[in-house]
């Protein structure tokens, strides 16, 4: 059977079933990062690949491509509460690319890394007919601060950092040729929530955490399957990005809620934590200029419901990729 028939998620399942995975004490297979037992700490290791045809839109500058590959890898470290030690880049470069393209790409990667107190520490450069970039990031987190994906308990609050829909607003701007560098930056230059992740981890109160780069709905379905829980989501509490509301004014036909729930590309952190600890977490994030908003609650059973003052319904499982295809159709 061809991979086009089985899709990416089943391909990942095939892989996970075949590999031996880690020594005793290692964890994290299928999580944002691998977490290797170093005694008091976990060594976090993650890798993410992008390729021109499927992940790099035409309007993205080389600087932004470099920034993006570093940011998405650092976001995986952030989601576990880690501090990054360094980033490696494997570059598969077509012969027709120019040296100034390469320079801008590396400047973008280096700028992102140094913006988050880390650096590019190595890599590999190879010829490839298709521009393909694979990043790897390593980081450290104290074992007692590590935030797993598995650990959400019924009764816990569900909360998210920042706002949802910044990347979607950028996507809509590009699609409708709205020239606005700020909006497009939200899509192409995502901000990994390293500070937020480290502060949350330091409180040792987070029961589960992941980044929502795949979209909120897709992330919730992943947490549901891992934790055997459900969620009650309160739509009115979801912090919709002001950028998305601005785009709505220009493009009245867009469905703000759909974009905020499903689009993805926002590298925010989705956490669950005991309700009596929430104000502690909120204050800690406010104190570093971040934000945390309760958007729902962990429930028994495996339903993910969305509630407003007017209706309740089951949340659809529409991931980033699916949604993009749907939007473009």
């Amino acid at each position: 059977m061809r991979l086009s028939d089985i899709g990416e998620r089943r391909a990942v399942k095939i892989i996970l079933n075949l590999i031996s995975g880690g020594r005793g004490g290692d964890i994290g297979l299928g999580d944002d990062c691998a977490a290797l037992d170093l005694g008091d700490d976990y060594l976090l290791v993650t890798t993410d690949m992008i390729t021109e045809k499927t992940h790099i839109p035409r309007g993205m500058t080389p600087f932004q491509i470099g920034w993006f590959i570093v940011a998405v890898n650092l976001s995986d470290i952030a989601a576990k509460g880690g501090r990054p030690l360094g980033v490696l880049l494997s570059l598969g470069l077509p012969r027709v690319k120019t040296s100034s393209f390469l320079r801008s790409l590396i400047r973008g990667a280096d700028t992102c890394a140094t913006s988050f107190n880390t650096s590019i520490i190595g890599g590999d450069t190879k010829e490839n007919p298709e521009l393909t970039i694979s990043g790897s990031a390593v980081g450290l987190v104290s074992k007692d601060e590590y935030m797993p994906r598995r650990g959400a308990k019924p009764g816990d609050l569900l909360a998210v950092t920042g706002t949802l829909g910044r990347a979607a607003a950028g996507y809509i701007a590009v699609k409708h040729r709205v020239r606005n560098k700020g909006l497009i930056k939200g899509l192409y230059e995502p901000v990994p929530r390293l500070k937020e992740g480290q502060v949350l981890a330091g409180l040792k109160i987070v029961s589960s955490c992941m980044d929502i780069s795949d979209g909120l709905s897709s992330s919730l379905y992943q947490l549901r399957d891992l934790n055997n829980v459900g969620f009650d989501l309160n739509l009115d509490n979801i912090p919709i990005a002001s950028e998305l509301l601005t785009m709505k004014k220009k493009q009245s036909r867009i469905n703000v809620v759909d974009y905020a729930l499903h689009f993805g590309g926002d590298y925010e952190l989705l956490v669950t934590l005991p309700s009596d600890k929430y104000s502690l977490a909120e204050q800690a994030l406010n104190s570093i200029g971040g934000s945390l908003r309760v958007i729902g609650r962990v429930t028994k059973g495996k339903r993910i419901m969305i509630h407003t003052s007017k209706y309740s319904r089951i949340l659809e499982d529409k991931g980033y990729e699916h949604f993009k295809k749907h939007m473009d159709a």
Copy 2:
């Protein structure tokens, strides 16, 4: 200027000039691995990418592709004397590949990892028009055992593990359609010298080390530039692989010496060490079933000379890629 005009080495120089590279205490930029300061240890991190068009010959089985990407990453850990903690795989997969292709590839990768007491600990799977696989390996080495590329001193002996030309023999076999699985294995299923690297590192006598995957001549020119030294190479002492000599009997026109000096693909370790410590190293490698052979000496000045009983000449700098083009022309 296009990358096709400047070549891979200049592209790497462009990159190295632009990146900030590591915290105080981190080393290894431009070495086989990045080496991150963890107190008593260095954390070794490395990444290598291969792609179907330029690195994966048609006859290579999916199992061998999986084995290969893991082996080449582990070889970088071996060259620094490290023990591997785990390997990550980023897979860029064309839609037309089958799930059985994926299964075999993962089995090859997992078999290689477990053969060397490590494992696949994570990764990423993405659609890509061109089969592209990037591996990353992490490992640990005590700081006082770490074997750098920089450190060779005039007067040191130059030595190599194993034999040279196994991969070349496999290449010739494939090229001339000689059906011999054993020969082809030497090319497609290289053996990372982890045990050898760890034993050599444990002796704390190696002044510099790298793997010779790019070929002996290319590796020597790299060591020369890093260390500001030259080499006297004794051709009669070079341990030519029996597999290459066997191929010579079948294909009398092949130049055994050229293949052994330039072809590459042998993941052996090239080391320099003080001459009074050599027998210690040789015995230690023999005791684990390995081998070490003196092939020359580090000299002042920057000439790399090759000596036989009949003549002396300057060693040409012909790397793996160059040589392959030359051979195929």
